[in-house]
Protein backbone atom coordinates (compact mmCIF):
# COMPACT_ATOMS: atom_id res chain seq x y z
CA UNK A 1 0.00 0.00 0.00
CA UNK A 2 2.85 2.35 0.93
CA UNK A 3 4.35 2.09 -2.54
CA UNK A 4 1.14 1.88 -4.52
CA UNK A 5 -0.58 4.91 -2.91
CA UNK A 6 1.64 7.50 -4.68
CA UNK A 7 1.15 5.68 -7.97
CA UNK A 8 -2.64 5.67 -7.59
CA UNK A 9 -2.55 9.33 -6.60
CA UNK A 10 -0.34 10.21 -9.61
CA UNK A 11 -2.69 8.29 -11.91
CA UNK A 12 -5.89 9.95 -10.66
CA UNK A 13 -4.43 13.46 -10.56
CA UNK A 14 -2.74 13.04 -13.94
CA UNK A 15 -5.95 11.89 -15.61
CA UNK A 16 -8.01 14.70 -14.04
CA UNK A 17 -5.54 17.39 -15.10
CA UNK A 18 -5.37 15.91 -18.60
CA UNK A 19 -9.16 15.78 -18.92
CA UNK A 20 -9.61 19.31 -17.59
CA UNK A 21 -7.59 20.52 -20.56
CA UNK A 22 -10.44 19.40 -22.83
CA UNK A 23 -13.51 19.47 -20.61
CA UNK A 24 -14.61 22.95 -19.62
CA UNK A 25 -17.51 21.72 -17.50
CA UNK A 26 -17.43 21.65 -13.71
CA UNK A 27 -16.14 20.00 -11.54
CA UNK A 28 -12.89 19.61 -13.51
CA UNK A 29 -11.85 23.27 -13.33
CA UNK A 30 -12.60 23.41 -9.62
CA UNK A 31 -10.63 20.25 -8.90
CA UNK A 32 -7.65 21.49 -10.88
CA UNK A 33 -7.65 24.86 -9.14
CA UNK A 34 -7.80 23.06 -5.77
CA UNK A 35 -4.85 20.91 -6.80
CA UNK A 36 -2.94 24.02 -7.87
CA UNK A 37 -3.71 25.54 -4.47
CA UNK A 38 -2.32 22.42 -2.78
CA UNK A 39 0.83 22.61 -4.86
CA UNK A 40 1.38 26.25 -3.85
CA UNK A 41 0.85 25.44 -0.17
CA UNK A 42 3.17 22.42 -0.28
CA UNK A 43 5.81 24.50 -2.13
CA UNK A 44 5.55 27.16 0.57
CA UNK A 45 6.07 24.65 3.36
CA UNK A 46 8.80 22.85 1.46
CA UNK A 47 10.95 25.99 1.75
CA UNK A 48 11.14 25.23 5.47
CA UNK A 49 12.36 21.72 4.66
CA UNK A 50 15.19 23.24 2.65
CA UNK A 51 16.22 25.53 5.49
CA UNK A 52 16.27 22.61 7.91
CA UNK A 53 18.47 20.63 5.51
CA UNK A 54 20.77 23.64 5.11
CA UNK A 55 21.21 24.14 8.85
CA UNK A 56 21.61 20.40 9.53
CA UNK A 57 24.22 19.80 6.87
CA UNK A 58 26.29 22.86 7.77
CA UNK A 59 26.07 22.31 11.53
CA UNK A 60 27.19 18.71 11.08
CA UNK A 61 30.30 19.81 9.16
CA UNK A 62 31.14 22.53 11.66
CA UNK A 63 30.60 20.40 14.76
CA UNK A 64 32.71 17.54 13.38
CA UNK A 65 35.28 19.99 11.98
CA UNK A 66 35.19 18.25 8.60
CA UNK A 67 37.25 19.54 5.66
CA UNK A 68 36.69 23.24 4.90
CA UNK A 69 34.34 23.64 7.85
CA UNK A 70 35.15 27.37 7.90
CA UNK A 71 33.22 27.89 4.66
CA UNK A 72 30.18 26.23 6.14
CA UNK A 73 30.45 28.44 9.21
CA UNK A 74 30.60 31.52 6.98
CA UNK A 75 27.54 30.30 5.10
CA UNK A 76 25.60 29.66 8.26
CA UNK A 77 26.54 33.05 9.77
CA UNK A 78 25.49 34.86 6.57
CA UNK A 79 22.20 33.00 6.53
CA UNK A 80 21.52 33.74 10.22
CA UNK A 81 22.54 37.38 9.88
CA UNK A 82 20.26 38.15 6.93
CA UNK A 83 17.40 36.27 8.58
CA UNK A 84 17.82 38.09 11.88
CA UNK A 85 18.14 41.54 10.31
CA UNK A 86 15.09 40.97 8.15
CA UNK A 87 13.04 39.71 11.08
CA UNK A 88 14.12 42.42 13.52
CA UNK A 89 13.93 45.54 11.36
CA UNK A 90 12.23 44.40 8.19
CA UNK A 91 13.11 45.44 4.67
CA UNK A 92 12.23 48.44 2.53
CA UNK A 93 8.76 49.59 3.58
CA UNK A 94 7.91 46.54 5.67
CA UNK A 95 8.65 47.01 9.38
CA UNK A 96 10.22 44.23 11.47
CA UNK A 97 9.57 43.00 15.01
CA UNK A 98 11.54 45.93 16.46
CA UNK A 99 10.06 48.48 14.08
CA UNK A 100 11.85 50.45 11.39
CA UNK A 101 15.32 50.90 12.91
CA UNK A 102 15.20 54.67 12.53
CA UNK A 103 18.48 55.14 14.42
CA UNK A 104 20.37 52.64 12.28
CA UNK A 105 18.75 54.05 9.16
CA UNK A 106 20.05 57.51 10.00
CA UNK A 107 23.54 56.05 10.27
CA UNK A 108 23.54 53.57 7.38
CA UNK A 109 21.18 55.44 5.07
CA UNK A 110 18.87 52.45 4.83
CA UNK A 111 17.68 49.43 6.80
CA UNK A 112 20.41 46.92 7.73
CA UNK A 113 18.86 44.19 5.56
CA UNK A 114 18.63 46.50 2.56
CA UNK A 115 22.17 47.74 3.19
CA UNK A 116 23.58 44.22 3.11
CA UNK A 117 21.37 43.29 0.17
CA UNK A 118 22.63 46.18 -1.92
CA UNK A 119 26.24 46.20 -0.81
CA UNK A 120 27.00 42.52 -0.33
CA UNK A 121 24.46 40.22 -1.91
CA UNK A 122 23.92 42.25 -5.08
CA UNK A 123 27.59 42.68 -6.10
CA UNK A 124 28.39 39.07 -5.16
CA UNK A 125 25.59 37.74 -7.34
CA UNK A 126 26.44 40.03 -10.24
CA UNK A 127 30.10 39.00 -10.00
CA UNK A 128 29.20 35.35 -10.31
CA UNK A 129 27.09 35.93 -13.41
CA UNK A 130 29.90 38.04 -14.86
CA UNK A 131 32.17 34.99 -14.70
CA UNK A 132 30.17 33.80 -17.69
CA UNK A 133 32.01 36.30 -19.89
CA UNK A 134 35.36 34.79 -18.93
CA UNK A 135 34.13 31.24 -19.36
CA UNK A 136 32.63 32.03 -22.76
CA UNK A 137 35.97 33.49 -23.86
CA UNK A 138 37.97 30.44 -22.78
CA UNK A 139 35.36 28.01 -24.15
CA UNK A 140 35.29 29.83 -27.52
CA UNK A 141 39.10 29.72 -27.63
CA UNK A 142 38.93 25.92 -27.37
CA UNK A 143 35.77 25.22 -29.33
CA UNK A 144 36.03 27.08 -32.61
CA UNK A 145 38.96 25.21 -34.07
CA UNK A 146 38.86 24.47 -37.80
CA UNK A 147 39.04 20.71 -38.28
CA UNK A 148 36.83 20.12 -41.30
CA UNK A 149 34.01 21.52 -43.39
CA UNK A 150 31.43 21.49 -40.57
CA UNK A 151 33.68 23.19 -38.05
CA UNK A 152 34.61 25.73 -40.72
CA UNK A 153 30.94 26.54 -41.33
CA UNK A 154 30.36 26.72 -37.58
CA UNK A 155 33.18 29.19 -37.17
CA UNK A 156 32.04 31.43 -40.03
CA UNK A 157 28.51 31.49 -38.57
CA UNK A 158 29.88 32.26 -35.12
CA UNK A 159 31.94 35.15 -36.47
CA UNK A 160 28.92 36.68 -38.25
CA UNK A 161 26.73 36.36 -35.14
CA UNK A 162 29.44 37.68 -32.80
CA UNK A 163 30.12 40.72 -35.00
CA UNK A 164 26.40 41.21 -35.69
CA UNK A 165 25.68 41.40 -31.98
CA UNK A 166 28.06 44.30 -31.45
CA UNK A 167 28.03 47.97 -32.31
CA UNK A 168 31.03 47.28 -34.54
CA UNK A 169 28.86 45.17 -36.82
CA UNK A 170 26.68 48.22 -37.39
CA UNK A 171 29.71 50.36 -38.13
CA UNK A 172 31.39 47.88 -40.46
CA UNK A 173 28.42 47.50 -42.78
CA UNK A 174 26.47 50.65 -42.01
CA UNK A 175 27.76 52.31 -45.19
CA UNK A 176 26.12 49.70 -47.44
CA UNK A 177 23.22 51.13 -49.50
CA UNK A 178 19.61 50.40 -48.51
CA UNK A 179 19.26 47.87 -51.35
CA UNK A 180 21.91 45.75 -49.61
CA UNK A 181 20.24 46.08 -46.21
CA UNK A 182 20.18 42.29 -45.80
CA UNK A 183 23.99 42.15 -45.86
CA UNK A 184 24.37 44.40 -42.83
CA UNK A 185 26.07 42.33 -40.14
CA UNK A 186 23.24 42.79 -37.58
CA UNK A 187 20.69 41.66 -40.20
CA UNK A 188 22.78 38.66 -41.18
CA UNK A 189 23.08 37.74 -37.51
CA UNK A 190 19.31 38.15 -37.08
CA UNK A 191 18.72 35.99 -40.15
CA UNK A 192 20.93 33.20 -38.76
CA UNK A 193 19.19 33.38 -35.40
CA UNK A 194 15.72 33.57 -36.91
CA UNK A 195 15.91 30.80 -39.52
CA UNK A 196 18.68 28.17 -39.30
CA UNK A 197 18.92 28.49 -35.50
CA UNK A 198 15.16 28.49 -34.96
CA UNK A 199 14.72 25.50 -37.29
CA UNK A 200 17.22 23.45 -35.29
CA UNK A 201 15.77 24.61 -31.99
CA UNK A 202 12.27 23.65 -33.11
CA UNK A 203 13.40 20.17 -34.13
CA UNK A 204 14.90 19.63 -30.68
CA UNK A 205 11.85 21.20 -29.02
CA UNK A 206 9.41 18.96 -30.90
CA UNK A 207 11.28 15.76 -30.12
CA UNK A 208 11.76 16.85 -26.51
CA UNK A 209 8.02 17.60 -26.41
CA UNK A 210 7.28 14.06 -27.55
CA UNK A 211 9.69 12.81 -24.92
CA UNK A 212 7.72 14.78 -22.33
CA UNK A 213 4.43 13.23 -23.55
CA UNK A 214 5.95 9.75 -23.30
CA UNK A 215 7.51 10.34 -19.89
CA UNK A 216 4.29 11.86 -18.54
CA UNK A 217 2.29 8.93 -19.82
CA UNK A 218 4.71 6.46 -18.25
CA UNK A 219 4.46 8.31 -14.94
CA UNK A 220 0.65 8.52 -15.05
CA UNK A 221 0.38 4.83 -15.87
CA UNK A 222 2.90 3.91 -13.19
CA UNK A 223 5.32 2.27 -15.66
CA UNK A 224 7.99 4.77 -14.71
CA UNK A 225 8.47 4.81 -10.97
CA UNK A 226 12.16 5.30 -10.38
CA UNK A 227 11.55 8.98 -9.54
CA UNK A 228 9.80 7.66 -6.43
CA UNK A 229 12.76 5.45 -5.68
CA UNK A 230 10.73 2.47 -6.94
CA UNK A 231 11.98 -0.64 -8.62
CA UNK A 232 11.57 0.29 -12.29
Amino acid sequence: MKSSAPLIFAFIVGIIVLLSEFIPHSPFNEIVSTLEGWFMIISGFAILLGQISLIRMNTHKIVHKLDNWQYHLAGLISFGLMLALGLLWGMQETPGILGDATGIQAWLGQKPFDYLFENAYLPLSATLFSLLAFFIASAAYRAFIIRGLESNLLMITAIIVIIGRTSIGTMLTGWLPESLHFWHFPNLADFIMEFPNTAAQRAILISAGLGIVGSSLRIILGIERSYLGGDK
Binding site: H25, S53, L131, A143, S207, V213, G214, L228, G229
Partner: protein, 365 residues
Protein backbone atom coordinates in the same frame (compact mmCIF):
# COMPACT_ATOMS: atom_id res chain seq x y z
CA UNK B 1 -50.24 61.92 -54.52
CA UNK B 2 -49.12 63.15 -51.09
CA UNK B 3 -51.10 60.36 -49.41
CA UNK B 4 -49.41 57.71 -51.56
CA UNK B 5 -45.95 59.11 -50.76
CA UNK B 6 -46.70 59.10 -47.02
CA UNK B 7 -47.93 55.48 -47.11
CA UNK B 8 -44.81 54.47 -49.07
CA UNK B 9 -42.55 56.17 -46.52
CA UNK B 10 -44.47 54.50 -43.72
CA UNK B 11 -44.04 51.11 -45.37
CA UNK B 12 -40.28 51.66 -45.85
CA UNK B 13 -39.96 52.67 -42.20
CA UNK B 14 -41.85 49.57 -41.05
CA UNK B 15 -39.67 47.45 -43.31
CA UNK B 16 -36.52 48.96 -41.85
CA UNK B 17 -37.77 48.49 -38.31
CA UNK B 18 -38.70 44.89 -39.03
CA UNK B 19 -35.11 44.20 -40.19
CA UNK B 20 -33.61 45.27 -36.86
CA UNK B 21 -32.55 42.21 -34.94
CA UNK B 22 -30.35 41.70 -31.91
CA UNK B 23 -29.78 38.31 -30.33
CA UNK B 24 -27.69 36.84 -27.52
CA UNK B 25 -26.75 33.18 -27.41
CA UNK B 26 -24.49 31.10 -25.19
CA UNK B 27 -21.23 30.42 -27.05
CA UNK B 28 -21.07 26.79 -28.09
CA UNK B 29 -18.35 24.34 -26.96
CA UNK B 30 -16.81 26.48 -24.28
CA UNK B 31 -16.44 26.71 -20.51
CA UNK B 32 -19.65 28.69 -20.05
CA UNK B 33 -17.87 31.99 -19.74
CA UNK B 34 -18.97 33.72 -22.92
CA UNK B 35 -22.03 34.81 -24.87
CA UNK B 36 -22.24 35.52 -28.60
CA UNK B 37 -24.09 38.68 -29.59
CA UNK B 38 -25.34 39.13 -33.18
CA UNK B 39 -27.06 42.19 -34.58
CA UNK B 40 -28.48 43.40 -37.86
CA UNK B 41 -30.02 46.83 -38.08
CA UNK B 42 -30.79 49.45 -40.65
CA UNK B 43 -27.76 50.59 -42.63
CA UNK B 44 -28.81 54.16 -41.87
CA UNK B 45 -27.53 53.83 -38.28
CA UNK B 46 -24.69 56.24 -37.45
CA UNK B 47 -23.48 54.58 -34.28
CA UNK B 48 -24.13 51.28 -32.51
CA UNK B 49 -23.51 50.81 -28.80
CA UNK B 50 -23.79 47.50 -26.97
CA UNK B 51 -24.00 47.40 -23.18
CA UNK B 52 -24.29 44.71 -20.57
CA UNK B 53 -26.87 45.47 -17.93
CA UNK B 54 -26.35 43.31 -14.85
CA UNK B 55 -28.53 43.56 -11.79
CA UNK B 56 -25.75 44.15 -9.28
CA UNK B 57 -23.24 45.93 -11.49
CA UNK B 58 -23.31 49.30 -13.25
CA UNK B 59 -24.09 49.36 -16.96
CA UNK B 60 -20.97 48.40 -18.90
CA UNK B 61 -20.39 49.48 -22.49
CA UNK B 62 -18.92 46.52 -24.34
CA UNK B 63 -18.66 47.85 -27.85
CA UNK B 64 -19.14 51.05 -29.81
CA UNK B 65 -19.02 50.89 -33.59
CA UNK B 66 -20.78 52.02 -36.76
CA UNK B 67 -21.37 48.58 -38.33
CA UNK B 68 -25.07 47.96 -39.02
CA UNK B 69 -24.49 44.23 -38.69
CA UNK B 70 -21.93 42.18 -36.86
CA UNK B 71 -21.15 39.88 -33.99
CA UNK B 72 -19.33 40.18 -30.70
CA UNK B 73 -18.24 37.64 -28.07
CA UNK B 74 -18.63 38.78 -24.48
CA UNK B 75 -15.96 36.87 -22.55
CA UNK B 76 -15.01 36.26 -18.95
CA UNK B 77 -18.55 35.77 -17.65
CA UNK B 78 -19.67 33.48 -14.88
CA UNK B 79 -21.03 30.08 -15.93
CA UNK B 80 -24.78 29.38 -15.44
CA UNK B 81 -25.72 33.06 -15.09
CA UNK B 82 -28.34 35.05 -16.95
CA UNK B 83 -26.96 38.15 -18.72
CA UNK B 84 -28.96 41.03 -20.19
CA UNK B 85 -27.76 43.12 -23.10
CA UNK B 86 -28.93 46.31 -24.68
CA UNK B 87 -28.17 47.56 -28.18
CA UNK B 88 -28.62 51.23 -28.85
CA UNK B 89 -28.54 52.37 -32.47
CA UNK B 90 -28.28 56.09 -33.20
CA UNK B 91 -29.87 57.41 -36.40
CA UNK B 92 -29.86 60.91 -37.89
CA UNK B 93 -32.75 62.11 -35.80
CA UNK B 94 -33.85 59.12 -33.81
CA UNK B 95 -32.43 56.22 -31.84
CA UNK B 96 -33.43 52.64 -31.40
CA UNK B 97 -33.02 50.34 -28.39
CA UNK B 98 -33.06 46.55 -28.62
CA UNK B 99 -32.63 44.07 -25.77
CA UNK B 100 -31.58 40.47 -25.58
CA UNK B 101 -30.57 38.06 -22.86
CA UNK B 102 -28.96 34.68 -22.59
CA UNK B 103 -27.70 32.23 -20.03
CA UNK B 104 -24.14 30.97 -20.00
CA UNK B 105 -23.70 27.22 -19.98
CA UNK B 106 -20.53 25.18 -19.69
CA UNK B 107 -20.21 22.42 -22.28
CA UNK B 108 -18.47 19.09 -21.97
CA UNK B 109 -15.84 19.72 -24.62
CA UNK B 110 -13.67 22.54 -25.96
CA UNK B 111 -14.18 22.24 -29.70
CA UNK B 112 -11.16 24.50 -30.35
CA UNK B 113 -8.92 21.83 -28.87
CA UNK B 114 -10.12 19.00 -31.09
CA UNK B 115 -6.96 19.02 -33.23
CA UNK B 116 -4.83 18.98 -30.11
CA UNK B 117 -6.84 16.08 -28.65
CA UNK B 118 -6.62 14.02 -31.83
CA UNK B 119 -2.85 14.47 -31.97
CA UNK B 120 -2.52 13.57 -28.32
CA UNK B 121 -4.70 10.49 -28.73
CA UNK B 122 -2.70 9.39 -31.74
CA UNK B 123 0.65 9.72 -29.96
CA UNK B 124 -0.59 8.26 -26.66
CA UNK B 125 -2.37 5.47 -28.53
CA UNK B 126 0.85 4.57 -30.33
CA UNK B 127 2.82 4.60 -27.08
CA UNK B 128 0.25 2.37 -25.36
CA UNK B 129 0.15 0.04 -28.36
CA UNK B 130 3.92 -0.45 -28.34
CA UNK B 131 3.97 -0.89 -24.55
CA UNK B 132 1.37 -3.61 -24.96
CA UNK B 133 3.38 -5.18 -27.79
CA UNK B 134 6.45 -5.17 -25.53
CA UNK B 135 4.43 -6.87 -22.80
CA UNK B 136 3.62 -9.64 -25.26
CA UNK B 137 7.28 -10.25 -25.85
CA UNK B 138 8.06 -8.10 -28.89
CA UNK B 139 11.64 -6.85 -28.75
CA UNK B 140 12.58 -3.32 -29.66
CA UNK B 141 15.90 -1.96 -30.77
CA UNK B 142 17.30 1.13 -29.11
CA UNK B 143 20.30 2.90 -30.57
CA UNK B 144 23.42 3.41 -28.50
CA UNK B 145 23.44 6.53 -26.35
CA UNK B 146 27.09 7.25 -25.58
CA UNK B 147 26.25 9.63 -22.75
CA UNK B 148 24.48 6.88 -20.83
CA UNK B 149 27.02 4.21 -21.64
CA UNK B 150 29.62 6.49 -20.13
CA UNK B 151 27.97 6.15 -16.74
CA UNK B 152 29.88 2.95 -16.00
CA UNK B 153 33.12 4.56 -17.11
CA UNK B 154 32.49 7.59 -14.90
CA UNK B 155 31.65 5.49 -11.85
CA UNK B 156 34.66 3.28 -12.52
CA UNK B 157 36.95 6.27 -12.71
CA UNK B 158 35.54 7.76 -9.51
CA UNK B 159 35.98 4.42 -7.74
CA UNK B 160 39.57 4.08 -8.97
CA UNK B 161 40.46 7.57 -7.84
CA UNK B 162 38.53 7.28 -4.59
CA UNK B 163 36.77 10.53 -5.41
CA UNK B 164 33.04 11.27 -5.24
CA UNK B 165 30.52 11.67 -8.07
CA UNK B 166 28.65 14.97 -8.33
CA UNK B 167 25.09 14.85 -9.62
CA UNK B 168 23.17 18.10 -10.29
CA UNK B 169 19.44 17.51 -11.03
CA UNK B 170 18.99 20.82 -12.87
CA UNK B 171 17.78 24.15 -11.56
CA UNK B 172 14.04 23.56 -11.99
CA UNK B 173 11.50 22.53 -9.42
CA UNK B 174 9.71 19.19 -9.35
CA UNK B 175 6.92 20.46 -11.63
CA UNK B 176 9.37 20.34 -14.55
CA UNK B 177 9.36 16.95 -16.26
CA UNK B 178 13.10 17.32 -16.92
CA UNK B 179 13.69 17.22 -13.17
CA UNK B 180 11.64 14.03 -12.93
CA UNK B 181 13.63 12.52 -15.82
CA UNK B 182 16.79 13.57 -14.04
CA UNK B 183 15.69 11.83 -10.84
CA UNK B 184 15.09 8.60 -12.73
CA UNK B 185 18.69 8.74 -14.02
CA UNK B 186 19.86 9.56 -10.50
CA UNK B 187 18.12 6.42 -9.28
CA UNK B 188 20.14 4.20 -11.65
CA UNK B 189 23.38 6.08 -11.05
CA UNK B 190 23.02 5.98 -7.25
CA UNK B 191 22.41 2.23 -7.38
CA UNK B 192 25.59 1.66 -9.40
CA UNK B 193 27.50 4.03 -7.12
CA UNK B 194 26.25 2.09 -4.09
CA UNK B 195 27.41 -1.18 -5.66
CA UNK B 196 30.88 0.27 -6.26
CA UNK B 197 30.82 1.95 -2.85
CA UNK B 198 31.47 5.36 -4.39
CA UNK B 199 30.22 8.50 -2.72
CA UNK B 200 27.56 10.47 -4.60
CA UNK B 201 26.89 14.14 -3.86
CA UNK B 202 23.53 15.64 -4.88
CA UNK B 203 23.05 19.38 -4.27
CA UNK B 204 19.45 20.59 -4.80
CA UNK B 205 18.07 24.02 -5.58
CA UNK B 206 14.51 23.43 -4.43
CA UNK B 207 13.23 21.78 -1.29
CA UNK B 208 10.71 19.68 -3.20
CA UNK B 209 13.52 18.31 -5.36
CA UNK B 210 15.55 17.71 -2.21
CA UNK B 211 12.93 15.49 -0.60
CA UNK B 212 12.40 13.52 -3.83
CA UNK B 213 16.16 13.15 -4.44
CA UNK B 214 16.75 11.96 -0.87
CA UNK B 215 14.12 9.28 -1.29
CA UNK B 216 15.48 8.22 -4.69
CA UNK B 217 19.08 7.88 -3.45
CA UNK B 218 18.04 6.09 -0.25
CA UNK B 219 15.93 3.58 -2.19
CA UNK B 220 18.81 3.04 -4.63
CA UNK B 221 21.19 2.20 -1.78
CA UNK B 222 18.55 -0.05 -0.28
CA UNK B 223 18.12 -1.87 -3.59
CA UNK B 224 21.86 -2.34 -3.86
CA UNK B 225 21.85 -3.78 -0.34
CA UNK B 226 24.16 -1.03 0.89
CA UNK B 227 21.86 1.05 3.06
CA UNK B 228 24.65 1.25 5.64
CA UNK B 229 26.75 3.22 3.13
CA UNK B 230 24.00 5.76 2.45
CA UNK B 231 24.85 9.23 3.75
CA UNK B 232 21.71 11.39 3.98
CA UNK B 233 23.83 14.54 4.26
CA UNK B 234 25.23 13.98 0.78
CA UNK B 235 21.85 14.92 -0.67
CA UNK B 236 21.34 18.47 0.48
CA UNK B 237 19.71 21.80 -0.19
CA UNK B 238 21.99 24.65 -1.20
CA UNK B 239 19.89 27.71 -1.99
CA UNK B 240 16.96 28.82 -4.15
CA UNK B 241 19.14 31.56 -5.60
CA UNK B 242 20.19 30.64 -9.14
CA UNK B 243 23.78 31.86 -9.03
CA UNK B 244 24.14 31.20 -5.32
CA UNK B 245 23.41 27.59 -6.25
CA UNK B 246 26.05 27.73 -8.98
CA UNK B 247 28.59 29.25 -6.57
CA UNK B 248 27.91 26.42 -4.12
CA UNK B 249 28.40 23.73 -6.75
CA UNK B 250 31.53 25.40 -8.12
CA UNK B 251 32.89 25.42 -4.57
CA UNK B 252 32.19 21.69 -4.22
CA UNK B 253 33.88 20.99 -7.56
CA UNK B 254 36.99 22.98 -6.70
CA UNK B 255 37.35 21.75 -3.13
CA UNK B 256 36.30 18.10 -3.38
CA UNK B 257 37.40 17.57 -7.00
CA UNK B 258 34.78 14.95 -7.95
CA UNK B 259 36.02 12.46 -10.54
CA UNK B 260 32.72 12.57 -12.46
CA UNK B 261 30.15 15.33 -12.84
CA UNK B 262 26.61 14.80 -14.07
CA UNK B 263 24.45 17.78 -15.05
CA UNK B 264 21.02 16.39 -15.89
CA UNK B 265 17.80 18.38 -16.10
CA UNK B 266 16.83 21.92 -16.85
CA UNK B 267 19.63 24.47 -17.06
CA UNK B 268 19.74 28.10 -18.04
CA UNK B 269 22.41 30.81 -18.04
CA UNK B 270 24.49 28.97 -15.44
CA UNK B 271 25.21 25.90 -17.59
CA UNK B 272 28.55 27.13 -18.91
CA UNK B 273 29.76 28.30 -15.49
CA UNK B 274 29.08 24.84 -14.07
CA UNK B 275 30.48 22.82 -16.94
CA UNK B 276 33.56 24.98 -17.52
CA UNK B 277 34.50 24.80 -13.83
CA UNK B 278 34.05 21.02 -14.00
CA UNK B 279 36.25 20.95 -17.11
CA UNK B 280 38.93 22.91 -15.28
CA UNK B 281 38.97 20.34 -12.45
CA UNK B 282 39.54 17.57 -14.99
CA UNK B 283 36.43 15.58 -14.14
CA UNK B 284 34.73 13.33 -16.68
CA UNK B 285 31.53 15.21 -17.45
CA UNK B 286 28.12 14.13 -18.73
CA UNK B 287 25.29 16.59 -19.30
CA UNK B 288 21.72 16.22 -20.48
CA UNK B 289 19.03 18.79 -21.01
CA UNK B 290 16.03 19.55 -23.16
CA UNK B 291 16.90 23.28 -23.03
CA UNK B 292 18.14 23.43 -26.60
CA UNK B 293 19.81 26.81 -26.12
CA UNK B 294 22.14 25.47 -23.42
CA UNK B 295 23.23 22.44 -25.40
CA UNK B 296 26.11 24.20 -27.23
CA UNK B 297 27.73 25.06 -23.90
CA UNK B 298 27.49 21.49 -22.69
CA UNK B 299 28.73 20.09 -26.00
CA UNK B 300 31.84 22.27 -25.77
CA UNK B 301 32.70 21.55 -22.15
CA UNK B 302 31.41 18.03 -21.44
CA UNK B 303 32.64 14.65 -22.56
CA UNK B 304 29.13 13.39 -23.27
CA UNK B 305 25.86 15.24 -23.83
CA UNK B 306 22.31 13.92 -23.89
CA UNK B 307 20.38 16.01 -26.39
CA UNK B 308 16.71 16.78 -25.77
CA UNK B 309 14.67 13.60 -25.88
CA UNK B 310 17.66 11.42 -24.96
CA UNK B 311 17.20 12.72 -21.43
CA UNK B 312 13.68 11.31 -21.37
CA UNK B 313 14.77 8.06 -22.99
CA UNK B 314 17.49 7.55 -20.37
CA UNK B 315 15.35 5.64 -17.90
CA UNK B 316 14.20 3.16 -20.55
CA UNK B 317 17.74 2.82 -21.89
CA UNK B 318 19.27 2.18 -18.49
CA UNK B 319 16.60 -0.15 -17.15
CA UNK B 320 16.19 -2.03 -20.46
CA UNK B 321 12.62 -2.57 -19.28
CA UNK B 322 10.68 -3.76 -22.36
CA UNK B 323 7.62 -1.66 -21.45
CA UNK B 324 9.65 1.52 -21.29
CA UNK B 325 11.45 0.63 -24.50
CA UNK B 326 8.05 0.11 -26.09
CA UNK B 327 7.05 3.63 -25.10
CA UNK B 328 10.14 4.94 -26.91
CA UNK B 329 8.91 3.28 -30.08
CA UNK B 330 5.71 5.25 -29.54
CA UNK B 331 7.73 8.49 -29.51
CA UNK B 332 9.19 7.55 -32.86
CA UNK B 333 5.70 7.06 -34.23
CA UNK B 334 4.80 10.53 -32.89
CA UNK B 335 7.82 11.95 -34.71
CA UNK B 336 6.69 10.33 -37.93
CA UNK B 337 3.21 11.84 -37.52
CA UNK B 338 4.71 15.29 -36.93
CA UNK B 339 7.05 15.01 -39.92
CA UNK B 340 4.07 14.07 -42.12
CA UNK B 341 2.01 16.94 -40.70
CA UNK B 342 4.83 19.41 -41.36
CA UNK B 343 5.15 18.23 -44.99
CA UNK B 344 1.38 18.34 -45.45
CA UNK B 345 1.19 21.76 -43.81
CA UNK B 346 3.91 23.17 -46.07
CA UNK B 347 2.16 21.81 -49.19
CA UNK B 348 -1.21 23.22 -48.06
CA UNK B 349 0.30 26.61 -47.24
CA UNK B 350 1.91 26.74 -50.70
CA UNK B 351 -1.54 26.01 -52.11
CA UNK B 352 -2.85 28.87 -49.93
CA UNK B 353 -5.07 26.57 -47.87
CA UNK B 354 -4.68 27.12 -44.17
CA UNK B 355 -7.38 24.75 -42.88
CA UNK B 356 -4.92 22.31 -41.34
CA UNK B 357 -3.00 25.08 -39.61
CA UNK B 358 -6.18 26.60 -38.24
CA UNK B 359 -7.45 23.21 -37.09
CA UNK B 360 -4.30 22.49 -35.11
CA UNK B 361 -3.78 26.06 -33.96
CA UNK B 362 -7.28 26.02 -32.49
CA UNK B 363 -5.57 24.77 -29.38
CA UNK B 364 -3.63 28.00 -29.09
CA UNK B 365 -5.83 30.81 -30.26
Amino acid sequence: MRKTLLSLLFLILIGLLMANTFSAKDSPWDNGKSIDLVWEISPMAIKVEICRQDADEPKRVLLTCSDPSGSFRDNELEPNNEYHYQLKAYFQDDDLTLSASAQTRAQWFYMGKLGFLLLLLLVCGAILYYIQAARHGKEFFIRRIAGLDSMEEAIGRATEKGKPILYVPGISDLDDIQTIASLTILSHLAERAAEYDTEIIVPCRFSMVLSAAKEVVREAYLKAGRLDAYKPDNVFYLTDDQFGFVAGIDGIMLRRKPAANFFMGSFYAESLILAETGFATGAIQTAGTAQAHQLPFFVVTCDYTLIGEELFAASAYLSKDPQQLGSLKGHDFGKLVIILLIILGVILEILETSNLKEFIAGAIS
